[in-house]
Subunit: 198 residues, 2 copies
């Protein structure tokens, strides 16, 4: 192997990271080789370990090193409710509220025609099967309130209702702690439509 191809190969490899161009990749490679070889070996091992061990939970589709993840195995949960989120990070956010004790289904993405992600890429069939298991009474759609998240919620809602499952969506509204003056008008309009008894 020629003198510079190991370094060149590292820079090219680092470009496979999302959002990393040739300039950042060079900066990363030089930094690790010059100042943090231990970090380089650590990342190398962590990547190999994750890529070889992490799979999708059989029940909720999230990342896990087991066949079924810890959350799905937790028998203290309300098995009649299924909360559908886009990512494990979204699931963590819902968990941190401590306001939900049911189970989850993690899409690991959203329907995004522009990025080439269709219903198959978000495990639609798996969700439909999961929601029709006879235990689940309500599916709470907690996809993001973005155009893609809303479109995903719409597609899921159509499919689930056909199967006779009760489908709900997180309420849209004014964020806690905010002043109306600074809230965008679309949010206020939705909060008006979704208004509740006081």
């Amino acid at each position: 192997m020629s003198d510079t191809s190991v370094l060149e190969g590292l820079i090219q490899a680092l470009r496979r990271l999302p959002g990393v161009g040739v300039k950042s990749a060079s900066r990363m490679a030089y930094h690790l080789l010059q100042h943090d070889r231990e970090g380089a070996e650590l990342i190398s091992q962590a990547l190999h370990q994750a890529a070889s061990q992490v799979q999708h939970c059989e029940r909720c589709h999230t990342f896990t090193t087991q066949t079924v993840c810890d959350t799905c195995l937790d028998d203290g949960r309300d098995t009649t409710r299924l909360c559908v989120v886009e990512t494990p990070a979204d699931q963590s956010a819902v968990e941190r509220t401590a306001a939900y004790k049911g189970l989850y289904f993690v899409l690991m993405g959203r329907i995004s025609p522009l990025d080439g992600f269709g219903p198959k890429d978000i495990g639609l069939e798996k969700l439909m099967a999961r929601a029709s298991d006879g235990m689940v009474k309500e599916v709470i759609l907690a996809t993001n309130f973005t155009a893609e998240g809303e479109a995903t919620a719409h597609v899921l809602s159509e499919g689930l209702k056909k199967r006779g499952v009760q489908v709900t969506r997180l309420a849209r509204g004014v964020p806690v702690g905010s002043e109306l003056e600074y809230v965008d008008l679309g949010t206020i309009a939705h909060a008006l439509v979704d208004r509740r008894d006081a």
Copy 2:
């Protein structure tokens, strides 16, 4: 190992990359595991290979997998000239001009007291020894025209002159193709001081 710790470990490891916070690290980890496991293994191998094989060239201090790098081994070069640059990327820029046929010394950094990089971190002693080998007649300082690059050039210049080596610095001036109206005043001032016969 618990269910989520492999993924958590990967996110923590990726944070050792410069400029990568917890949010980017999560995005990278999810992207690789969800869409590009081959990329994850590729980066893993490239990091391990580079971290275990790349060393500093004995003569010019740049990264190489050999004891002496290809550039230093190239016997078509003018051994009486040594161009000092901060990084391999700067060396490539000088090479691409095709206006220089001498050898290089790559500092792999710059003196930057704020970041804790002193003269030792840029291989100052190695450069002094290299420049006093009896072959080198002229050292061209091609560190960046930033505050840190200029300070580094100043320190190197002092040390080299003491050893009786001729020291030059890249000319400062108006960039080729630019209109004076849009050039910053400091650059115009330097171009005036460094003016040459027309």
